[in-house]
């Protein structure tokens, strides 16, 4: 631990002084804490929490919150969760969890561990709903006095919509002493609702654009109030909220559309490679996706308790498994059907049936669910009223990475060059000494491997089952055909736009009709432009 860049202090005296200062600071902090924890006031405060009627407790909570004791937050939180319990000897303890026969406990007063205590020897401090509300408010205001402005800001934002008359004066007092601008704004916002209720027009200013339901209700009430000025202001603010909500809805849909689109891109891009380069219709592509997803599930079985690590490991593993199956498929079946696309379609379809049934008999016909690691679950609030789920964000990111990687492979590697050569003129490429059959094999392995990656990603969004591939195969073909065969960018644009269009249509007509509409649209589109959005032109392509 290097707290000071010591050489900066020129003389040894100064250095010594600095060291001493550091030690003194530490001492003060440690001693101060100990002193505080052992103060008799704290013991009394704590005791008041555990005894008396609900009314007494209510007062006790207020005094704990006002006392400024460093353990206050811990106590109040434990009390709210029902983890603050009375032990047999009359001392208050905090237990780690409330389930189980014997509970791990520590002393509430100083946090000293006490080992495990049988549950029947403990008694929970009872609270009611009113106390619960009060506790939440108290916990929130507690953090308002924290050192870190970010903590204060979060606490102030958390107060929003929960400010009752008791809290108002408390918060207003905080507002006086608060210097951080953003914390002040958050506090103003928290205060705005009760102020609005009291008929304060200026409060509306702080509520502009808020997506909270309580705000909307309060403003609607205000808009109907007798005060003309108030009503007009509220009406205007409501309009703005409505517009903001509209934008949010729109953004939300865009997000879901992009998310669905990136899944489509992931599922289709492997197909775009095999179909585009080799002209091979691989109906087993969906099953290669499925294998990738099952690889993730398997790894999670082998690494219990570490779902995140398993998912990370599944990325290379899923790629390898699917690529290996792809290689076997290419060598065993597709190679013999060169130049007969319809037969290839049928044979690979047969393989897809076999793979599905294999999974059904070897693992289970039932769906398996893959655990989403902690760092991928939950959501992030981007702006007020718009939160995006993390797993979808990760999948989008993953899709983008896979796409860029493929682009790089195609553009910058020897394999990419050979692949492009073989696509454009197979006979010529062979004449130039490119081993077309080896390129075919590698291309197919690459496309299959990418399908496996798609499966890993999908396992984070949906259930994993033997027939999951079937759900994606038609969509994937639609994407490839729509985008133009053999064109990665076309696949990207097609996948994303199909995803967005689908999501955009869904609220209007329902999920099924939206899907039908998209299918019909593509069927009509292909009639108009048989070679997709970005066709390969020229004589070679016509052949």
């Amino acid at each position: 631990m290097k707290l000071f860049p010591l050489p900066l202090f020129a003389s040894s005296g100064a250095r010594l002084f600095a060291l001493l200062g550091l030690c003194a600071c530490l001492m003060v902090v440690i001693l101060g804490q100990q002193a505080h924890a052992q103060s008799p006031d704290d013991a009394a405060l704590l005791e008041s929490l555990g005894t008396g009627s609900f009314n007494d407790k209510s007062e006790a909570i207020n005094s704990v919150a006002a006392s400024g004791t460093p353990r206050a937050g811990e106590w109040l939180e434990a009390m709210l969760d029902g983890r603050l319990q009375l032990a047999g000897d009359g001392t208050l303890v905090i237990v780690a969890s409330t389930s189980g026969r014997s509970l791990e406990a520590r002393a509430a007063l100083d946090g000293a561990p006490m080992g495990t205590i049988e549950r029947r020897e403990l008694k929970r401090i009872p609270i009611n709903n009113a106390l619960r509300v009060q506790l939440r408010g108290a916990i929130a205001t507690l953090d308002l006095s924290a050192e870190d402005p970010a903590v204060r800001r979060a606490a102030a934002a958390g107060l929003f919509g929960r400010v009752d008359d008791d809290l108002v004066s408390l918060i207003e007092a905080r507002l006086e002493g608060e210097e951080d601008e953003s914390v002040r704004a958050a506090l103003e916002r928290a205060l705005a609702l009760p102020r609005l209720e009291r008929g304060d027009v200026t409060a509306i200013e702080a509520l502009r654009g808020s997506q909270d339901n309580a705000v909307r209700l309060a403003l609607t009430r205000a808009a109907q109030s007798g005060d003309a000025q108030m009503a007009a202001a509220a009406q205007q603010a409501l309009g703005e909220i409505e517009r903001r909500a509209e934008i949010n809805r729109w953004l939300q849909q865009l997000f879901f559309g992009l998310s669905m689109g990136s899944v489509l891109v992931l599922a289709a891009i492997g197909l775009a490679i095999t179909f585009g380069v080799m002209g091979v219709i691989n109906m087993a592509h969906g099953e290669l996706i499925m294998l990738g997803a099952y690889t993730t599930w398997m790894l999670q079985q082998w690494l219990p308790g570490q779902p995140g690590l398993a998912v990370l490991l599944a990325i290379p593993a899923g790629f390898l498994v699917s690529a290996l199956v792809g290689i076997v498929l290419e060598r065993g079946v597709i190679r013999y059907l060169k130049g007969r696309p319809l037969e290839t379609l049928l044979a690979t379809f047969g393989v897809s049936l076999i793979l599905q049934q294999l999974v059904r008999t070897m693992i289970s016909p039932q769906n398996r669910s893959v655990v989403t690691p902690e760092w991928m679950s939950g959501s992030v609030m981007v702006i007020d009223g718009l939160s995006l789920t993390l797993n979808r964000l990760y999948v989008m990111l993953f899709a983008a990475l896979v796409f860029l990687a493929l682009l790089a492979v195609m553009r910058a590697t020897r394999l990419g060059l050979e692949v492009r050569a073989v696509t454009q003129n197979r006979a010529m490429a062979r004449a130039m000494g490119i081993r077309a059959s080896r390129v075919d094999l590698l291309t197919f392995a690459l496309g299959s491997g990418v399908a496996g990656l798609a499966g890993v990603a999908l396992s984070q969004l949906t259930n994993v089952g033997p027939s999951m591939g079937q759900n994606y195969i038609i969509d994937s073909f639609m994407v490839v055909v729509f985008g133009g065969v053999g064109n990665l960018w076309g696949t990207l644009v097609a996948g994303l736009s199909l995803g967005i269009v689908n999501q955009w249509l869904e609220p209007w007509v329902g999920a099924v009709l939206a899907k039908i509409a998209v299918l019909v649209f593509i069927i009509l589109f292909i009639q108009k432009r048989p070679r997709g959005l970005f066709p390969q032109k020229g004589r070679a392509a016509e052949g």
């Binding site: 044979a347 047969g350 076999i354 059904r360």
Partner: protein, 387 residues
Amino acid sequence: MSEDFAAKRAGMAHGWLVRPWHERSTQVFLFSVCAALALVTMLHLALPAGHPLHVSAYTVNLLGKYLCYALLAVALDLVWGYLGVLSLGHGAFFALGGYAMGMYLMRGIGERGVYGNPELPDFMVFLNWDRLPWYWHGFDMFWFALVMALLVPGLLAFAFGYFAFRSRVSGVYLSIITQALTFALMLAFLRNEMGFGGNNGLTDFRELLGFDLRQGSTRLGLFIASGVALMFGYLVCRALICSRLGRVGVAVRDASNRVRFLGYRVERVQLYVFVVSAMLAGLAGALYVPQVGIINPNEFSPLFSIELVVWVALGGRATLYGAVIGALVVNYAKTWLTSAMPDAWLFVLGGLFVAATLLLPQGIAGLLAQLRRRKSAKRDEDREALT
């Protein structure tokens, strides 16, 4: 081979519809089907139930179902074998024909349904509908349902084919969008709001033209009707194939550009044959439904459509009779395996796809032809040895 061409040319002297009658292969086919129908009927009626050779009503019903599949396979072979259009959506036409017939049978239930509503089928009562949707009108008449069973698939094929062939969508592209078509239809028919019974489809049929569907005699009648329909479909296809139009179709299959530069309208040839094929598929569906007693969106599933492709592939493409053989063999295997080893069926089906394309590109029909050729070659050798 030259015999064959000579026969074809001899046939040209007659009207296009009677041409196939003069072909030996057609004669053999018709005779075989008639003989099979007669044999099954006899074994069913004449022998007592306990007799080892007795054909039960259940088996008759099963065979009737196979014959419908065979007709469907013939319809597919017409477009795949002789036009080069691999439709992965022929199940859709089959199912549409089936739904048309199902609607008639549904209306025929009348007051005997669970809810006893004389007008509305049960599922509509269940959905709280108070009146019949407009497209259900007229289906109380058998002739109307039968016409619709042909017309609706025909119209769909026309609308779809018109756009597809006009913009020269061909090969795998066409296959994929036909698959998308049947997939879209399946999704649509799964919806309750469509008015076709949603997921459950149409079922609980009672009678057809006044005959109780559960009676053995009705089943026998339907079995024979299916056989007759198969012969009819075969003759229609054969007549088409023997005409100059049929030869243009084969030409389109092999070199569509050349055909265009000869002055033929390729898209119209394709459209015409495609529509005829779709109508035959619809007919097969219409006969299929009263025999199995249910029609639901499953028949629209891409799996079913592609499964029927393997019947044709295994039987032998571009032979028609091969399609019939394939449909019978695969479906018999399916019936047997799904009861004996349910898990194994999909392995076998998948294996059939791979085997039919890799090992038997000509199918069973090709194998038979090869055997025949080998035998005749041997006969020639023997004759030479004798002289």
